[in-house]
């Protein structure tokens, strides 16, 4: 009976299949290329020492950075949410602010302060400083939403503080930690700008290098295929470790807030922890950008040059965010409300294209659109389509949790009271999921603001975005000329970072 009820209706399934099929276009192109040239050509390109090096490097970096992000994210979230740390609200906002600083700006800033930085540990440090908020925010929200009654019960049953964490708190945080880690790992697989400066080779940097070499697109496609296999591995891992445990609160009324732990004499060292993180993650890039600006002063800010670029970027980011969320919503709905192996696979298939760098998706779309959709070539529609393919999963993580937190019983009640399906959607589903939908849109627009390669390949000729202008100046090592664009990227990212923060502060309590 339950099985029958959970079978998705066709009017939901068909659009979802179309969206997933659309998101899979780059994959089809890559696989087609690999088959087209034949195994004899692909095999020596895949099974060679360099691929082993890249595989080790990529997996190592994902492991170290994800571990560091988890540690930093959970520890900071605990400090802010569960202790009497002075200025808790301000700290959470400050700790979330690296979201507004593009990872490659952070990397450029560190490199100009410490040019000797290179290799795995430098890459781990810089990517951790950029990405830990992806773990911090959901974990902070989960901690805030936890019912202290569970811990009180645990204590009354004789659990010490350490075992309490392991047996009661951590299992409750698991979905938030896993969701955050998956976001970090997906970012890392495709991250190029932040890592290439650090002389650390991953699949993403190697693929870009291949496209920068003549006649090498076969090798690039072979690399991309291996990268997609990596992504497949991560997604499977996340699904396997997520488990089937229910984490929503049972019982009536609102949960009480947990009593904060008194830090006492430990207050000073406790304040030093978030302070250090903020100085490293925000202070350094802000200092470097200000330093570069110092060379040009006010003259560097030519509003007639900056404003059109800012407007173009904002327009593309808003458009892509809206379309991505619209495309992601039915898929997320399907995977949450009609959970089965088939719907999970369908939803997760959209993650694969996002693991490859923009240039792979970009060139795949060049090939497809020039042959089958010539009028769309190098139009805004095409570049937005590429953004959707690249950033759908980032929206999906938030959409899924937003839909998961909206109890189906409310919709049933609304229908039971005679409201139409549309009215129920508008009056029940939209208000309940709006915060999560906004967070999803915020994550996508953050990503679009800094996207470079797909933009270069697919945007209408003459399109200048903040990222293209930053790179074209940075490539000529003209940091003073690049700095105003970095400032604009940060300014444009602030509202998105604020949205994500607010969503986390609201937490899961409702």
């Amino acid at each position: 009976m339950r099985r029958l009820r959970s079978l998705p209706p066709l009017r939901l399934l068909v659009p979802c299949l179309l969206i997933a099929g659309f998101a899979a276009i780059p994959l089809v192109v890559i696989v087609y290329y690999c088959f087209d040239v034949g195994w004899a050509v692909v095999e020596p390109l895949v099974f060679r020492p360099l691929i082993g090096e890249l595989l080790a490097n990529t997996i190592l970096l994902c492991a170290t950075t994800t571990t560091c992000c988890l540690t930093a994210g959970v520890a900071l979230a605990w400090l802010v949410e569960r202790t009497n740390l002075p200025g808790r609200g301000v700290w959470l906002a400050l700790l979330a602010s690296p979201l507004a600083i593009p990872a490659f700006v952070n990397s450029y800033a560190w490199i100009s302060l410490a040019p000797e930085l290179h290799g795995l540990w430098a890459a781990t440090m810089i990517t951790t400083l950029s990405y830990y908020p992806f773990v911090l925010l959901p974990v902070a929200a989960a901690l805030r939403g936890l019912d202290p009654a569970l811990e009180e019960t645990g204590r009354s049953l004789g659990l010490g503080p350490a075992r309490m964490w392991v047996r009661v708190v951590l299992p409750q945080l698991r979905p938030a930690m896993l969701g955050g880690s998956l976001l970090v790992a997906l970012h890392l697989l495709a991250e190029f700008g932040a890592i290439e400066q650090l002389r650390y080779a991953t699949f993403a940097t190697a693929i870009i290098a291949q496209y920068e070499s003549t006649f090498a697109s076969t090798a690039a496609n072979a690399l991309a295929a291996v990268l997609i296999a990596c992504c497949l591995l991560f997604i499977t891992l996340e699904v396997l470790t997520r488990g089937r445990a229910r984490t929503a609160r049972l019982g009536s009324g609102a949960a009480r807030a947990a009593t904060p732990i008194r830090l006492g004499r430990l207050t000073a060292p406790a304040v030093a922890v978030p302070l250090t993180v903020v100085v490293l993650a925000v202070g350094v890039p802000v200092y470097s950008v200000t330093h570069w600006l110092g060379y040009t002063g006010a003259a560097g800010f030519d509003p007639s040059a900056l404003l059109p670029v800012l407007a173009t970027t904002a327009k593309l980011a808003a458009l892509a965010a809206a379309v991505t969320v619209a495309a992601g919503f039915p898929l997320a709905w399907l995977s949450v409300r009609h959970r089965s192996l088939m719907t999970t696979v369908l939803e997760r298939s959209t993650y694969l294209a996002s693991a490859v760098p923009g240039v792979v998706v970009g060139l795949a779309l060049v090939t497809v659109s020039i042959r089958y959709a010539r009028p769309l070539y190098q139009t805004t529609i095409l570049v937005v389509a590429a953004y959707v393919m690249l950033f759908l999963p980032r929206a999906m993580v938030n959409l899924r949790s937003a839909i998961g937190q909206a109890p189906p019983v409310l919709e049933e009640a609304s229908r039971g009271l005679g409201q139409s399906a549309f009215a129920t959607f508008r009056r029940v589903v939209v208000p309940l999921t709006a915060p999560g939908v906004l967070s999803a849109a915020a994550l996508v627009s953050l990503a679009v603001t800094t996207e470079l390669t797909a933009t270069i390949l697919l945007a209408p000729t003459g399109t200048h975005t903040l990222a293209t202008e930053f790179w074209s100046a940075a490539a000529e090592i003209d940091y003073p000329a690049a700095a105003p664009y970095a400032v604009c990227m940060i300014v444009l990212s602030l509202p998105s970072a604020y949205l994500l923060l607010r969503q986390s502060v609201r937490g899961v309590t409702r």
């Binding site: 969206i19 360099l50 003549t214 090498a216 619209a326 070539y377 000529e476 090592i477 003209d478």
Partner: protein
């Protein structure tokens, strides 16, 4: 709700709109074929001042903007610039094939030009334009023309190595005594152009050995600027780069090149290779005459003078136009003679792949 829906609807709409347009275009061309007499005698075609050219540009952004602005002021022809990097754009042009919206392609190095040329996508450059540039800076095929040049140099940190200790040839860097003390940016068009010159001048075996030495004893930087910064910071002793990175930084903040000096190998060494930046007109261009006019302007006196006065610090290749006076003169570089169209970049990529560099 879904983008697929939007796409299909737009496509259908676009298809509907295209049919009458295509029909009109067909009528138009029939008219010209049968009716209007073809211009005879005069060699210079009349330029359509209302045309808008699409320029795929991998050259320095600021330099090309300056060229285009001056060209538009002179001819009234508008040019839209699409900015990218050498080989990504060349790969894009190859993927676009005959449907490319591009009229003109400008690069920093010749291998990207060869890629497009080998795909059969370039039209012949006008004789008059080719005549503005010495033959050594254009391929013997005449399918594209040199527009600027850059010299290979060894950037070194004088606190780490003295001038007297520097190698005489780029080939000497494979000597164990330089192990850990030299670097390059193997990814990207710049370095691959240098290696293709080495291959042409020294042969496959020597190039293979040298690349193996780079893999084991050299530092692989992510770009020429990163390489120069590493030398400046003292984390690398020397690095093979192009000359203009140093001049460009010296003209700005100097913060990336204050502790860097340039060593010119000279003596027709592969390390003295001068790489040619090229310009070509696409066969599929809808405005071939205007596209040729742009190339003619860039390689002509005015265009080359503009390059000399710019902050690009690249060499002028136009006849009788002196380069930026800050630079060591092109004639004194002792560059080896290499036909740009003889550079075998496919082989170079294979060798570099085999060496594990890319």
């Amino acid at each position: 709700m879904s983008i697929t829906y939007t796409l299909t609807r737009r496509r259908a709409l676009a298809a509907l709109l295209t049919i009458p347009v295509a029909a009109l275009a067909a009528c138009g061309s029939t008219d010209t074929d049968s009716g209007a007499p073809a211009p005879t005698g005069s060699s210079a075609p009349v330029l359509d001042r209302n045309a808008t050219l699409t320029l795929y540009n991998a050259q320095h952004d600021t330099l090309t903007k300056a060229w285009v602005e001056a060209f538009t002021a002179k001819t009234g022809i508008k040019v839209e610039i699409r900015q990218g990097s050498d080989l990504t754009m060349a790969n894009q042009l190859a993927a676009e094939g005959a449907s490319s919206p591009a009229d003109v392609f400008l690069t920093e190095n010749s291998p990207a030009m060869s890629l497009v040329e080998n795909a059969g996508l370039f039209a012949q450059v006008d004789k008059a334009t080719l005549a503005q540039v010495p033959a050594e800076y254009s391929p013997s095929t005449g399918n594209w023309v040199g527009i600027a040049a850059r010299s290979t140099v060894l950037a070194y940190n004088p606190t780490k190595v003295t001038e007297a200790e520097l190698p005489k040839s780029i080939m000497d860097l494979q000597d164990p005594k330089w192990s850990g003390k030299f670097g390059a940016a193997p990814k990207g068009a710049d370095f691959q152009a240098i290696v293709s010159a080495m291959l042409e001048l020294k042969g496959e075996a020597a190039t293979k050995t040298w690349l193996a030495a780079l893999k084991t004893g050299g530092q692989a930087h992510t770009g020429n600027s990163a390489a120069m910064k590493a030398v400046n910071a003292g984390t690398s002793t020397t690095a093979v780069i192009y000359h203009y990175y140093w001049y460009g930084d010296q003209a700005k903040t100097k913060e990336n090149s204050n502790n860097v000096k340039l060593h010119f190998f000279g003596g027709q060494d592969p390390g003295a290779f001068v790489s040619v930046s090229g310009g070509g007109v696409l066969k599929s261009s809808k405005h071939p005459a205007e596209a040729q006019a742009l190339l003619q302007y860039i390689t002509g006196k005015d265009g080359q003078k503009l390059l000399a006065d710019s902050t690009a610090f690249e060499y002028c290749v136009g006849k009788d136009v002196p380069s930026n006076p800050a630079l060591k003169p092109l004639a004194e570089l002792g560059a080896p003679k290499v036909d740009p169209s003889k550079l075998n970049s496919k082989k170079v990529v294979d060798l570099m792949t085999a060496a594990g560099l890319i």
